[in-house]
């Protein structure tokens, strides 16, 4: 992809980067972080595609979409134009491939068959976007593992809670396996501590994450906020629902830090 300049003066990323948001624990903030980061990246003038691989379709709903009859699985089979499965969203600059019933195999198809189809679907996507963000379900299986084959980076959202830590270890183990067996370029872009509040416990969990994973844990974290719980009802990302809120600022800061880490930006 050739470089172009976005509306906020940030030039586009040199080539499309696929980022999977992964954590096998539920409630870690994957969907919230996916939607919020997509909007924050778009504010910077980047073109973002969100791929909803969670059959629950929360990201799809949040972004104003609805379940589609076609998705990456169908794209992998050929005979389908990308424009037929990519939908616009309530956020300028953010496109969406909604969740799709074919993400769950039926008949004689196995999960691994579907996983391979998803990987092939990713390969068929054009490099129109600067960033592709993949929201995954909170389960260990083909839906959370297949995007690791096609991604450049993984972002791990973590709820600031002691029981979230095994989820991080689990994702790290999956990434190590993926790097060794199928995708040596896969990198952990960062661990994002979410739902951090003033309670000692959450801050201690963040401190423990830093002690264990060092600078992999992002400097910026995301505070707990009722605004985040309210935003999906209006199908708006936090940066539009409560643009001046602290939590919106947190996600903008996280987006900036992630872009810095990718190191592919050239200021204009």
């Amino acid at each position: 992809m050739t470089s172009s300049t976005g509306s906020s003066g940030v030039s586009a990323i040199a080539e499309v980067k696929t980022i999977t948001l992964s954590n096998n624990k539920g409630g870690s903030g994957k969907t919230t972080t996916t939607v919020s980061l997509a909007a924050a990246f778009a504010e910077r003038g980047l073109r973002v595609l969100v791929v909803d691989l969670d059959p629950q379709g929360s990201a799809t709903e949040w972004l104003g979409g609805r379940e589609s009859l076609i998705g990456l699985v169908e794209l992998s089979a050929g005979g389908l134009r990308v424009s037929e499965l990519v939908k616009s969203t309530s956020v300028v600059g953010v496109d969406l491939i909604p969740t799709c019933p074919s993400l769950v195999p039926s008949g004689e198809k196995s999960g691994n068959d579907t996983g391979l189809a998803i990987v092939r679907g990713f390969v068929r996507l054009p490099d129109y976007w600067d960033l592709i963000l993949v929201d995954t379900p909170p389960t260990l299986g083909y839906l959370s593992l297949s995007p690791l084959v096609a991604s450049d980076h993984v972002v791990i959202p973590v709820e600031a809670h002691a029981l979230s830590m095994p989820g991080v270890a689990s994702v790290m183990a999956s990434i190590a396996r993926a790097r060794r067996q199928v995708n040596a370029r896969l990198q952990v872009l960062g661990i994002v501590a979410c739902r951090v509040n003033a309670a000692n416990h959450t801050r201690e969990v963040v401190a423990q994450l830093r002690a264990r994973f060092g600078t992999v844990v992002l400097e910026h974290s995301v505070r707990e906020s009722i605004r985040i719980a309210e935003a999906p009802a209006l199908r708006l990302p936090i940066t539009r629902y409560a643009p001046t809120s602290g939590v919106a600022a947190d996600y903008r800061a996280v987006a900036g830090e992630l872009l810095d880490r990718m190191g592919d930006l050239s200021s204009t």
Binding site: L140, P166, A173, R212, I226
Partner: protein
């Protein structure tokens, strides 16, 4: 009507200093009994209700607001289901205290061990360890279960085989 919560609120209101005229001992005992039954009911999220002695605020306990006042002010409902046994509730504001960031947040302050309280030795030990300077996460929280490696290996190996077959 949430009987356990209402009963608990009523009991807490009586135990908080200055929460109104004190009830007679008989009435308090009846309330406590109702709360105990409610929390020990099958299906209750709370395994056991702390004794009245455990619930009574220590002399040095700081309660800027009563729980009722906090709830009426719209704060998040007190996490009754996860209240540690013998803990006293504090209201605190931290550096992240923006309106939407739970400017009023609950922090649990663990009082001195009560010899009559149910055994919570392990959690207390964990809390004690957590506060040690330079401490890191407990090992058991940082190890992925073996099933993760197996599932990932199965999937990636299968993928490589399938791609090779085609």
């Amino acid at each position: 009507m949430n009987r356990p919560l209402d009963a608990a609120r009523g009991l807490l209101a009586r135990l908080v200093p200055g929460a109104g005229a004190g009830p007679g001992a008989k009435e308090t005992d009846a309330d406590e009994e109702a709360v105990r039954k409610a929390f020990l009911a099958p299906g209750s999220l709370v395994p056991a209700m702390p004794t009245r002695r455990a619930l009574r605020p220590k002399p040095d306990a700081v309660l800027e607001k009563t729980p009722e006042a906090v709830l009426e002010a719209g704060a998040t409902a007190a996490p009754v289901g996860v209240m540690p046994v013998g803990a006293a509730m504090q209201i605190s504001s931290g550096p992240l205290g923006e309106p939407e960031s739970a400017g009023t947040t609950f922090a649990w302050r663990t009082p001195d061990p009560d010899p009559e309280a149910p055994s919570v030795a392990s959690p207390e030990e964990a809390i004690t360890r957590r506060h040690q300077a330079g401490d890191t996460a407990p090992d058991h929280l940082l190890h992925a279960p073996g099933s993760v490696d197996r599932a990932a290996d199965d999937f990636f190996d299968g993928l490589v085989r399938r791609v090779g077959d085609r």
